[in-house]
Symmetry: C2
Subunit: 165 residues, 2 copies
Amino acid sequence: MMSSQCVQSLKNLLICLDKAEQYAGAKEFDTSVLLTSRLAPDMQPLTYQVQSACDYVKAAAAWLSGQTPPRHEDNERTVDELRARIRKTAAFAESVAAAQYAQASGREVRLSWAPGKVIGGKDYLLQMTIPDTYFHIAMAYAILRHNGVDVRKQDFLGPINLVNG
Amino acid sequence: MMSSQCVQSLKNLLICLDKAEQYAGAKEFDTSVLLTSRLAPDMQPLTYQVQSACDYVKAAAAWLSGQTPPRHEDNERTVDELRARIRKTAAFAESVAAAQYAQASGREVRLSWAPGKVIGGKDYLLQMTIPDTYFHIAMAYAILRHNGVDVRKQDFLGPINLVNG
């Protein structure tokens, strides 16, 4: 199921955060410099990109299984706190059993920024959840990469299920 | 079907390229400066990011429908040539009818970088095609954004099917 791949991709950010912390340690600067870095002055910093990726995964797991998303405050200030945010998001998404998505494609999802409108469950997953989640994970990656952290596309992709053939 | 959303996301890059061209025009610099820009010295430039996003979409449309991907040379040097690359990729992907994907999840895909190995069609779509496609589209976006082009997340997302509700 697609949402489980989004959860995996979110967890892949943990590797990127490890590398960010190691890089800051090796270069002897405060990791918060990376957490507050942006690709452009009117673009959101790394911390926000991680929070936002988490929220798209959390929201999809909730709305598509007929639940209200748990509230996660955006108050992370350290790499450890961002790790915890990723882990609690993944734990919530993984708490939803496949059977709970049985009605997912027929559900209507309301969006706070579009009053009076809804989006069908399938469109929500394909047009919002997946692109939005990958967008924010990729921006987190790009901010680190631009700042010299040795993250690799393999870190972004995570495990790939190759078999002998 | 997911691959049609990847095709749509690829087409959304056309808007980003329009904005890149307008920006270069307004600031009176050669658009090729943007096409050769990178987020890090050991990372690929914009042109490659577009080519690569195209190739993941093309490959998935082909392999998952039992075809060999058409060969597209990586010889684009202008924005117009990149637009043409996106359009021929989209045209190929859209030439594949839904019925041709009937056996997609059971297919085994060979990867040039993993001799002797295969990946199942479903894993290929979820673990490679979708994340790889969004990765390269997002890196193209990030390069433009970092260079001051006024691309917006809405441009990345493209049309969202909101309905009254």
